[in-house]
Amino acid sequence: MRTATLNRLTPYIFLAPAVVIMALALLYPLGYMIYGSFRDWDPSQTLGETEFVGLSNYFYLWQDASFRESLAVTLKFAISVVSVEMVIGVGLALLLDRSLRGMSVLRTLFILPMMIAPVVVGLMWRYMYHPSVGIFNRTLESAGLGSVDWLGKHALLSVIIADIWQWTPFIFILSLAALQSLPRSALEAARIDGATGWQQIIHIKLPLMMPVLIVTCLLRLIDAFKVLEVILVMTEGGPGLSTEILALRISRTATEFRELGVAAAMSNYLLMLLLLLTVAMLAYNKFQEMRADRARRIAEEAV
């Protein structure tokens, strides 16, 4: 009897250390931030000395044009990078899903950008975008096309391009893995049924990859909303507010404007947005599982 109880408890005992660390390292700061977001808080004060202001930090943000601008920039950035990355990543995967000589080298080359530290990516692109010595403008000028004010007039577009360069490989490898795990014989059956290459992609490959693509897309969106380093290094949010994504706005609110309560409230908005995406992803997974379960049950009844 006691052994049985002990056996049942074993997994929880093993989990306990991780739970304790998670609670300390994750839940405590999170609680601290949520608590702080309800207070008028200057960095010179300790949290205990601050004044409780209710939801006014949250309401204030909606009247703040800069916050709304920053939210718009973030949404524009996230949606455009993820959609372009999905198209290029999946397209590349469809192109490179074949066994040719040297293909593995090519695949490794394609995923390199993802492995470079974000700060390095930011620096690299800043130099490449440099108005006079950057490779883009030098090339354009030597071709007689004149120069482009990359990080000035087209700052958002420029950081979008850099992000696409860095994160398309992520979608590429996941799509490639999905493609390679597709049932070979279904594709062969499609060839015999008379499907051309395009028709195979549209009618068989893409629909079968869809579960992976949806999860990949949500993962990338979550990441894109949290982006910081590359943009920090490239533009520091400028010029003006043109590339000031939420993460940068939060950090400036906390350090430059010394409004810790407002910064905390802003963080919570971002957290809610990410939570929404995460829940959507989990719900989608759950939905898939339920559908598979249902199919299995029906199949068993069919025997």
Partner: protein, 361 residues
């Protein structure tokens, strides 16, 4: 003119040749079964006909036209795969109509065709289901249905029953035989199961090691196997092989091996006239051994195991180190460990050259 003809068909993977220039002719509307152990090249041959594998050498003709350079879709074939290869995201109706929809046939015609085929296969109630919601046998039927809606001139089957359990396999085999009577098309069927081959085929092609060993009607192959491999492959329980020496003694010819001596009759003597060499391999089907304590031309066997399978039993016996199987009625009174006499029927005995393993007729 043969409907489908393979001429010196060869397949190489790199330097390894797996199919060594096979020649085969299949008549119009013939049900041809390629059978052999795994790795014998039967599936490769089928996949080359389908266009899923490149042809390394030789040519495939359909109605006299070379097709090995054509894409699968240009060959007018339908194929049933071992793992069904259904499209998981489409329901049964969509699966069956995929080819027709790609051809942009009128909707009315497609629906009519699906209804017709579904009716024939008993799938009418399942048209809206996805493959995951079907049992193994139903999925198998959908795979057949997908091939049938195509109206192709040629049907290819790649071990279509091997993923089913034993009972379902027998049932589907019978259904296939029925379908075969209704659908007069060229059919090429690959299997490793010799019972499927024997029951379904108009023509069996036995393959081994990338060569065709023998082809002909099931009866021909069973009664007159061309070599030891074919003889051992077709028939359950398999044929017994006993090594013997040919000895002449007092005007008679004897087959003498370990523990037996059989006197040849006149017919057998005549068969031996073309055979040089003193050794021979005797092939005796388990059903051709008869329990008979008094018979003269007989072998004495030591019964080791008796496998009861109903009306018949299979005895696994020992004959001085050689394993011999005997099939006989279960009510024959026999005890394990007994030494018993079995009559050998000279007429039904197969003879093989021990060197070339070819049959001596």
């Amino acid at each position: 003119m043969p409907a489908i003809q393979l001429q010196q068909l060869t397949k190489r993977y790199g330097k390894v040749e797996v199919l060594h220039g096979i020649d085969l002719e299949m008549a119009d509307a013939e049900f041809t079964v390629l059978v052999g152990p795994s790795g014998c090249g039967k599936s490769t041959t089928l996949r080359m006909i389908a266009g899923l594998e490149n042809v390394s050498g030789g040519e495939i003709y359909i109605d006299g036209n070379p097709i090995s350079h054509l894409e699968p879709k240009e060959r007018d074939l339908a194929m049933v795969f071992q793992d069904y290869a259904l499209y998981p995201h489409m329901n049964v109706a969509k699966n069956m109509s995929f080819a027709l929809r790609l051809q942009k046939r009128p909707k009315k015609e497609i629906n009519q065709k699906i209804a017709e085929v579904a009716e024939m296969l008993g799938l009418t109630d399942y048209l809206h289901r996805k493959p995951a919601e079907l049992s193994g046998g139903q999925r198998q039927r959908v795979a057949m249905g997908r091939a049938l809606t195509r109206d192709s001139s040629t049907f290819l089957f790649d071990e279509p029953l091997s993923n089913l359990d034993a009972k379902l396999r027998t049932q589907m085999r019978a259904e296939l035989a029925l379908m075969r009577q209704r659908v007069r098309k060229n059919m090429i069927y690959v299997t490793h199961d010799q019972i499927e081959a024997m029951t379904l085929a108009d023509r069996i092609v036995v393959m081994d090691g990338g060569y065709i060993q023998q082809q002909g009607s099931p009866e021909e192959l069973f009664k007159k196997p061309a070599n030891r491999f074919v003889a051992g492959f077709l028939g359950t329980p398999p044929m017994n092989f006993l090594e013997a020496d040919i000895q002449h003694d007092g005007g008679h010819t004897f087959f003498r091996g370990k523990g037996f001596s059989l006197r040849c009759d006149e017919a057998t003597k005549r068969r031996l006239s073309g055979h040089t060499g003193s050794g021979i391999v005797l092939g005796i089907r388990p059903s051709d051994l008869t329990f008979d304590p008094l018979a003269e031309e007989s072998i004495e066997l030591n019964v080791a195991i008796s496998e009861y399978i109903g009306a018949q039993s299979v005895l696994i016996c020992d004959c001085h180190g050689a394993k011999v199987m005997v099939e006989l009625k279960s009510d024959t009174p026999i005890a394990l460990g007994e030494k018993l006499n079995f009559r050998v029927d000279m007429e039904s005995m197969h003879l093989f050259d021990p060197e070339t393993e070819r049959a001596i007729f």
